[in-house]
Symmetry: C2
Subunit: 112 residues, 2 copies
DNA sequence: TGGCTATTTGGTAATATTGCCAACTATAAG
DNA sequence: CTTATAGTTGGCAATATTACCAAATAGCCA
């Protein structure tokens, strides 16, 4: 049973980086080569290449050689549905924090 | 735009650990206190407490004090749907690896 | 109050991740 | 063959994560 959580963690860890999330988002709209992604991300090409290899090792993307270029694409587009839930978490957390701040302010007003 | 990917990465990073995935799975079946989770996980209670604080900071879980115990629960159960897709990625990757190995074996048989 | 249980926090050593540079491989074109 | 382009790999320093122990905090009960 523990092995299952480790396997899941490996895949999720591969997603847990802003550049890699950007890559996944880009690939969800069609395949792209390393140079295209590198230009959009703005990091060194070797950095982008390593991010791609992390995603590939996790089974999230696959590549296809085309002459001198290598095109990557998403292997399971269902990943994208997940981001809607992540956004929900982010939004509701932000809303809650706001309420906490507002509560503090109104408490302070009572004291004054 | 970059900030959005960073925010997503923070939440996903909070999920990217076997023990924390286990915790999320447990909490999906109802709230649990730290001691219950600690017993199931088998790590030091301080370790479990820190995992819980990571999940809480990410907005994934929330706590409720009940006497001397603290009960945690999932804030957005939609997270669970995501794991089905992760399992799909894991399974299809495993299947692909198997095919690769089988291919290698049959190639070797041709050579012999 | 003092002790008991549940939990968090601080400190720290081991380990993992990240990003860049430089060097390397592979393919295409002249 | 030489050069240029696309991409990967090795190495390394900076940074982050992890897990444990020890100490602190909080609520309950005698």
């Amino acid at each position: 049973m523990k092995a299952r959580y480790e396997a899941r963690a490996r895949v999720i860890k591969a997603l847990a980086h802003p550049s890699r999330l950007f890559i996944v988002d880009e690939l969800s709209r069609g395949e792209k080569c390393v140079c295209e992604l590198t230009e959009k991300i703005g990091s060194d090409i070797s950095t982008v290449s390593k991010h791609l290899s992390v995603l590939k090792a996790a089974g999230l993307i696959q590549d296809k050689k085309c002459g001198t270029q290598i095109y990557y694409r998403l292997r399971k587009p269902c990943i994208m549905e997940f981001f809607a839930c992540i956004e929900l978490v982010i939004e509701s957390t932000a809303r809650e924090q706001l309420e906490l701040v507002e509560l503090e302010v109104s408490d302070q007003n009572k004291v004054l």
